[in-house]
């Protein structure tokens, strides 16, 4: 009878994806393209924020958008209607974008025509946080109606993001959103995370976000 052998592995589960993301980040740096990855739950306002950002920065930068959805072209169509350039990824069921998918989308884009690429990830607070896309900046949107306790349920998302944008602040009076509780937890899980309060609908806070983003865009 065969003996059972114990094999020491100690390998990160995401090694392959992380290697692809590193390769992509280096490629974009050589091409002078800055990429940001926007993540949130469905309906938090990713597309609205991207459109508001496009409108504010489109005279300054040439911006392309990679739209990730399980199905449909709805968000890409909105981007194009608002004067943007969009590449759609339909994952057909996968609940996140990974670096291989992003590389495939970027291979269809002429990088000479872009300064900035914005990824709109799949609406989901779990899997997108696990997969490095190769972006220079990870941005999370939390909308006021979702509540301040999302950080307890999805801490990884808050941990991997450089920026937290609290959207829909125009309706804050209708919800019991505890900013202090959120800030306390955010300060622990990710003390370097920059936080903005905006309303993509009314435009409140968008200028501050775009000014800060412009300082980060190194192209």
């Amino acid at each position: 009878m065969s003996d059972i052998k114990l094999i020491n592995v100690k390998e990160s589960i995401l090694t392959d994806n992380d290697n692809d993301a590193l390769f992509l980040r280096e490629k974009l740096e050589k091409e002078n393209v800055f990429m940001l990855n926007i993540m949130s739950s469905p309906g938090a306002g990713k597309t609205s924020l991207i459109i508001a950002t496009l409108k504010t920065l489109q005279d300054k930068y040439r911006i392309g958008v990679i739209e990730g959805d399980i199905d449909s072209m709805v968000d890409s169509e909105k981007i194009v209607q608002n004067g943007g350039h969009a590449v759609q990824i339909n994952t057909g069921g996968d609940c996140h974008l990974d670096s291989f998918m992003i590389k495939s989308a970027i291979d269809t884009m002429d990088l000479d025509n872009y300064d900035v690429i914005i990824i709109e990830n799949i609406g989901n607070l779990v899997c997108p946080a696990e997969f490095d896309t190769g972006a220079n900046l990870n941005v999370m949107i939390l909308s006021v109606p979702e509540g301040d306790d999302k950080i307890l349920k999805y801490p990884l998302m808050f941990q991997v993001c450089d920026v937290l944008i609290i959207n829909k602040i125009d309706c804050v009076k209708m919800f019991d959103f505890n900013f202090d509780a959120l800030m306390n937890r955010a300060a622990l899980v990710n003390p370097k995370m920059k936080i903005f309060q905006v309303s993509a609908k009314t435009g409140e806070g968008i200028e501050a976000w775009c000014d800060w983003l412009s300082e980060k865009i190194t192209v």
Partner: protein
């Protein structure tokens, strides 16, 4: 499911490298801040591993609790992430701390025949 597929890929790679006939167990280290549910991971595994030497293997979880280090006195302490208040150092009471464990995600070891 995508992460379970990654675990399976790693287990198969090491299984084949060691000329295994069958993978018996896979031990993964998972920080408590990771969104992993043990029953669901095992269910995904049982589906994804059909037809491989890993089919029927048991996934064992080694959970890593959330801990922080105090930025004042460097005391390391564990705390309940779900408490409403910001955790304070158990030694000096300082509120300025940083996480040191809870984010782990790796295949630690496999047992094979």
């Amino acid at each position: 499911m995508p992460l379970t597929q990654k675990i399976l890929d790693i287990a198969l790679k090491y299984g084949e490298k060691n000329q295994s006939e069958k993978i018996i167990t896979v031990c993964i280290r998972v920080g408590d801040l990771r969104d992993f549910v043990e029953e669901i991971t095992q269910r995904y595994w049982d589906y994804l591993s059909i037809g491989t030497i890993a089919y029927g293997a048991k996934i064992k979880f080694e959970r890593v609790p959330v801990s922080a280090i105090c930025n004042n006195c460097e005391n390391i302490f564990y705390f309940d992430w779900h408490d409403e208040d910001k955790p304070c150092c158990t030694k000096c009471g300082n509120l300025d701390n940083r996480l040191i464990t809870g984010m782990e995600l790796e295949v630690k070891e496999i047992s094979i025949l």
